[in-house]
């Protein structure tokens, strides 16, 4: 695309921030807001992946669907709050999109990477949970999986105490 003077327009750099309801995710969002909010040439996708428990954990599919609906509602509130934070930090409204995906029986990291490819973001931002080695072993680490599996994309793993307010 070109502007009215025939000069090619620079394509926005697209950043994807993967969030949930945790403080670590909030830290990742605030990092992006504080680090590049107000600069031109960026657009952002705030993504939340709802890891839906297996049907085996519920007495009926109806119960599971209700669980997903409730969780979905609270995540939509979080996404909207985070969208407002990015707007306040200087991102144009038109350059922020939010997305909520339900992952059925798939690792959260693979859903995030699938979405990253879909929107062609050049950077992926996640919070670091700061879990113990035992916890990482038994529950897995989304950020580790992203760091190991991401292609054509940089991954920023944000420490909750990174200093950006």
């Amino acid at each position: 695309m070109e502007n009215h003077k025939g000069v090619p327009k620079l394509k926005d750099k697209h950043i994807m921030i993967a969030v949930d309801e945790s403080e670590n995710a909030k830290a990742a969002l605030l990092f992006v807001a504080g680090f590049i909010g107000g600069f031109r040439g960026f657009r952002a996708t705030i993504l939340s992946v709802l890891a839906a428990p297996d049907i085996d954990l519920f007495d009926s599919d109806g119960e599971r669907q209700k669980w997903i609906a409730d969780k979905r509602e609270s995540l939509l509130v979080v996404l909207e709050r985070y969208r407002q934070i990015l707007i306040q930090s200087g991102f144009p409204k038109t350059k922020i999109r939010t997305e909520l995906v339900v992952s059925d029986d798939r690792p959260v990291s693979s859903v995030i990477l699938e979405k990253q490819k879909e929107v062609c973001s050049c950077a992926l931002v996640v919070g670091r949970r700061g879990i113990s080695k035992s916890e990482e072993f038994l529950f897995g680490s989304v950020s580790n999986a992203l760091v190991h599996s991401a292609n054509n994309c940089s991954v920023w793993v944000i420490e909750p105490t990174c200093g950006i307010e």
Binding site: A51, A52, P53, D54, I55, D56, L57, D59, D105, P107, V108, S109, K133, S134, E135, F137, L138, F139, G140, S141, V142, A145
Partner: protein
């Protein structure tokens, strides 16, 4: 899954049930009158000598099963009954529906768990005819409870089968362990079969692995545990497989207590990295305790140690290493 319509049984009378029971029981053991149950919801009230009728098949209840290793001693499991199938006299385990939600403690960590009759029913269908699993079938009672009718397996648990307390470990490792490892590899392949069908066992531990006394094959039992979401749903099973492997290689859990009591000379060489990544009182680096353990086998143990930087992502990786380690064990 079989579903029972209407009253749940047809054609059974007290007399016909007594006639059936008389084919399999001594006359003195046959009660005068049976209590007949078709809705098993109140499992705690189902007792000795009751008859549970499922899909028109009568089962004479004998007793409640007992809790395993992690339960309180001799605590009865009221939702698991041993029974006699009066249609053919075979011994069965009847697993009734107990909607239990709890947090299982694994080491210092808590994991959300539920007992899922649906999951166990699905896996029973999947593993029909597979020699390394318990067999049975799911059936709905008149209240739509998913009851599992399981064939009784005579034999020892892995905890008893691979126990090496009474003989010296080196002798156990040279004589018994190679065969036990071969059998165990077959059991790991069975778990891989589940994983390839996107199912997990959910509660892999040594008292859920029986050595069938009639076939001399290892068989996994009890698939009703389900867990909350995990970045890798197979990790719990992999961890269980690793723990059993270390148990059978050591002939028991080699804990810090064992070292202190029986091998104090080894204790000083054990570093923090040598302990089990979850059970911090168990030694994972068994090569330091038993130096004749081949390196290829000990490397597998180290994947489950505090010092590890590599985890197994899937059962194929573990199995590949196990097959190589078994070669090394046989050569040794």
């Amino acid at each position: 899954m079989k579903k029972i319509a209407g009253s749940g049984y047809v054609g059974h009378t007290q007399q016909s049930l007594r006639d059936l029971a008389s084919q399999w029981l001594e006359p003195s053991r046959i009660p005068k009158k049976f209590r007949i149950i078709t809705d098993t919801s109140e499992f705690i009230r189902i007792d000795y000598d009751d008859i549970v009728i499922l899909d028109n098949s009568p089962f004479l209840i004998r007793h409640n099963q007992k809790e395993g290793r992690f339960g309180m001693d001799d605590q009865p499991k009221f939702w698991v009954k041993s029974a006699i199938d009066l249609s053919d006299g075979s011994k069965k385990i009847i697993k009734l529906v107990f909607h239990e939600r709890f947090q299982a403690r694994i080491g210092d960590l808590l994991i959300d768990c539920v007992r899922s009759p649906l999951k166990e029913a699905r896996i029973l269908d999947l593993v029909q005819g597979h020699v390394n699993f318990m067999h049975g079938y799911p059936v709905q009672d008149t209240a739509s409870n998913i009851v599992r009718v399981i064939d009784f397996i005579p034999g020892q648990t892995m905890a008893d089968y691979a126990f090496a307390d009474v003989i010296k470990h080196e002798e156990y490792f040279a004589t018994s362990f190679p065969a036990i490892l071969r059998e165990y590899i077959e059991a790991v392949m069975a778990i891989l079969f589940l994983h390839r069908h996107n199912e997990i066992h959910g509660d892999i531990r040594r008292d859920h692995l029986l050595r069938d006394a009639t076939t001399n094959r290892l068989r996994w039992i009890d698939f009703d545990f389900a867990h909350g979401p995990n970045e890798n749903k197979f990790v719990h099973d992999l961890f269980g497989l690793g723990n059993i492997l270390m148990y059978i290689a050591g002939g028991r859990d080699i804990t810090i207590q064992v070292l202190n009591d029986e091998m104090p000379h080894v204790r000083s060489s054990i570093a923090e990295d040598d302990f089990n990544i979850i059970f911090h009182n168990r030694i994972a680096n068994l090569g330091k305790v038993f130096p004749y353990i081949p390196e290829a086998l000990n490397r597998i143990f180290l994947h489950f140690s505090m010092g590890t930087t590599f985890y197994y992502d899937n059962t194929e990786e573990l199995l590949d290493d196990l097959i190589r380690a078994a070669d090394a064990v046989n050569r040794a």
